[in-house]
């Protein structure tokens, strides 16, 4: 910030305006939608009635609480699986010597981030289907007698969500692993530690900040995912996001959809705040920066 001056040239003020307008519209639109959460739903119209807290009491029904708990479970599963599968990939991306190998792994890993929700989910629809490649393999090799039901099940949704979130996990872990001072690893081996011991007792603990931040980020990401559970779940797997879609656009109950959205946003904010706080505590306690 060497050139940060107290005197702000006039053109700089004008340059804030367009982005400022977008920021104001985001805040207004979110506030306008979220205040619907406190309004009465008038069936058959998009208009809302007077003030009420009923929308929040209705969230206490089993169908809503189940969707919330299920979503938390799927998000936790995805975060753990992404960490487990993503760490070796990130490690190779940082430490591999071959340039083309790195580039190839990078493109393969990042592709799910850029192909878009629909193309990605459609791919899994084909792979997980009754006559999809997984079932072809499973029945063909005699592992199972009957085709597995993967589509429209939580298992299928988690398989697809883990791929969806993998690029972000790998990006965060890569940044963390590349910050590890390789001299520490060399010191450990010169003192007689085996490569396996060096990895588990030096490298892995040093990347704890990245592991925590990756896990929290993926948890929040998969918590709010919509297209994947909607398409792979096919209405038989309900998450918070698919529930809001159903309530808002099949029943046109905007107040209830807004109450669900507000609750989901608070949940996401809590995850990020509690997770972030926890991560900071662990990092300070272990003396990592």
């Amino acid at each position: 910030m060497a050139t940060m001056s107290g005197e702000r040239p006039r053109f700089a003020t004008y340059m804030i305006v367009p982005a400022g307008i977008v920021a104001v519209v985001i805040v207004c639109a979110m506030a306008l939608m979220l205040q619907d959460a406190f309004r009465v739903h008038v069936p058959g119209t998009l208009d809302v009635g007077g003030f009420t807290l009923d929308n929040f009491w209705r969230l206490n029904r089993p169908i809503y609480t189940k969707a919330f708990l299920d979503t938390l479970l799927y998000a936790a599963l995805c975060a753990s699986l992404d960490l487990l599968l993503g760490y070796p990939i990130a490690y190779v991306l940082v430490r591999a010597r071959s340039g083309w190998l790195k580039s190839a792994i990078l493109i393969i890993t990042l592709m799910p981030l850029f192909s878009g929700d629909i193309v990605r989910s459609y791919g899994w629809l084909v792979v997980l289907g009754k006559y999809g490649v997984i079932n072809m393999f499973a029945t063909g090799t005699g592992l199972v007698a009957e085709p597995l039901q993967l589509l429209y099940t939580p298992t299928g949704v988690v398989i697809a969500l883990v791929q969806y979130a993998m690029p972000v996990m790998v990006i965060i872990l890569t940044a963390s692993i590349s910050h590890v001072d390789t001299n520490l690893e060399r010191a450990a081996s010169s003192l007689g530690a085996s490569p396996i011991a060096t990895f588990f007792r030096v490298t892995l603990p040093l990347t704890l900040p990245g592991i925590l931040s990756g896990t929290i980020t993926i948890f929040a990401w998969t918590l709010s995912a919509f297209a994947t559970p909607q398409i792979i779940g096919g209405g038989r797997v309900q998450t918070i996001a698919t529930l809001i879609y159903g309530v808002g656009f099949s029943n046109f109950n905007f107040p209830l959809a807004a109450a669900l959205s507000l609750t989901a946003l608070i949940l996401i904010a809590l995850v990020l705040a509690v997770g972030g706080g926890l991560a900071r505590m662990v990092i300070t306690a272990r003396g990592l920066t």
């Binding site: 982005a19 791919g123 084909v126 972000v168 989901a264």
Partner: protein, 273 residues
């Protein structure tokens, strides 16, 4: 067994594991590409014969044609506007102080943690209140909100790599702050800006959740049309279209990596949340 042998076994296991994960990540792409050239009506695997008929159908299907034009218009509009306002904002954010700096920045970056369909729903309610119908403007507005955080961050990364001495040299030689910005800063930022623009275009072109609520039959972008198609048909037309999209995106990514530095795009995500 000494640790050399153990390490060699561990290394082989690790590579096997990595190969398995990479196969898992690529599996849908491989299967879609294979299924897209099938001569069969159904999506069975392995495909029975070879044919390009699904590519012909994907390209000639009227809903896809109009949705493709919509998507092109929306993504070019979004990326150009978002890059312009995001670059301007990132510059002032990095170089100057202004009232409400923290609040405006937080609001602008908030779409990173808000589910996109909630943003779409909110903007739809907002637009209805203002008496707007669902139009291209509303879709582009939602898309700008979704991509602007990425543009701002990638421009910030490039801004921090600029040697500020060059800017100071220009002003000490008598250039006005505006001239310094247009003649020194902007040209130096160009690769970062183009990278951000390309990235924003891809994100907007493939955006689905944010578009779903604010688009209609006549304004629907390609991902929404594809979503409808999946519900109504099960033939490999979608496989053909998906293969085309994956191919184009892969080519753009390689170009992006080569000329604009994919690394700056990637660092956008690091600590973004």
């Amino acid at each position: 067994m000494n640790w050399h042998a153990k390490a060699a076994i561990a290394r082989s296991c690790a590579w096997l594991f990595i190969a398995f994960v990479l196969l898992y990540l690529m599996l849908p792409t491989i299967i879609i590409a294979t299924a897209s050239v099938s001569s069969q009506e159904t999506l069975a695997f392995p495909p029975a014969g070879f044919s390009m008929q699904w590519y012909e159908r994907a390209i000639s299907y009227p809903d896809f044609q109009s949705a493709f034009k919509n998507s092109l218009f929306i993504s070019l509009g979004t990326s150009t506007l978002a890059t312009a306002l995001g670059t301007a904002y990132a510059y002032v954010l990095e170089r100057h102080n202004f009232p409400g700096k923290k609040l405006i920045t937080a609001a602008l970056l908030s779409p990173l943690v808000i589910p996109h369909f909630i943003i779409g729903l909110a903007v739809l309610i907002f637009a209805v209140q203002l008496g707007y119908v669902r139009s291209f403007e509303t879709i582009i507005l939602v898309h700008i909100m979704i991509v602007v955080p990425f543009v701002v961050r990638s421009v910030l990364v490039s801004l921090r790599m600029i040697d500020t001495d060059v800017e100071r040299a220009a002003s000490s030689l008598g250039a006005t702050p505006f001239t310094v910005f247009t003649h020194v800063t902007l040209p130096l930022l160009a690769p970062g800006i183009f990278g951000g623009w390309l990235f924003a275009s891809i994100l907007s072109f493939t955006e689905f959740s944010g578009s779903l609520f604010v688009s209609t039959q006549s304004t629907q972008p390609l991902p929404v049309a594809m979503f409808t198609y999946i519900r109504d048909f099960a033939d490999p037309t979608m496989a053909a279209l998906s293969t085309i999209i994956i191919g184009v995106v892969a080519i753009l990514l390689v170009i992006g990596a080569k000329w604009f530095g994919l690394s700056s795009i990637i660092s956008v995500h690091d600590d973004a949340h």
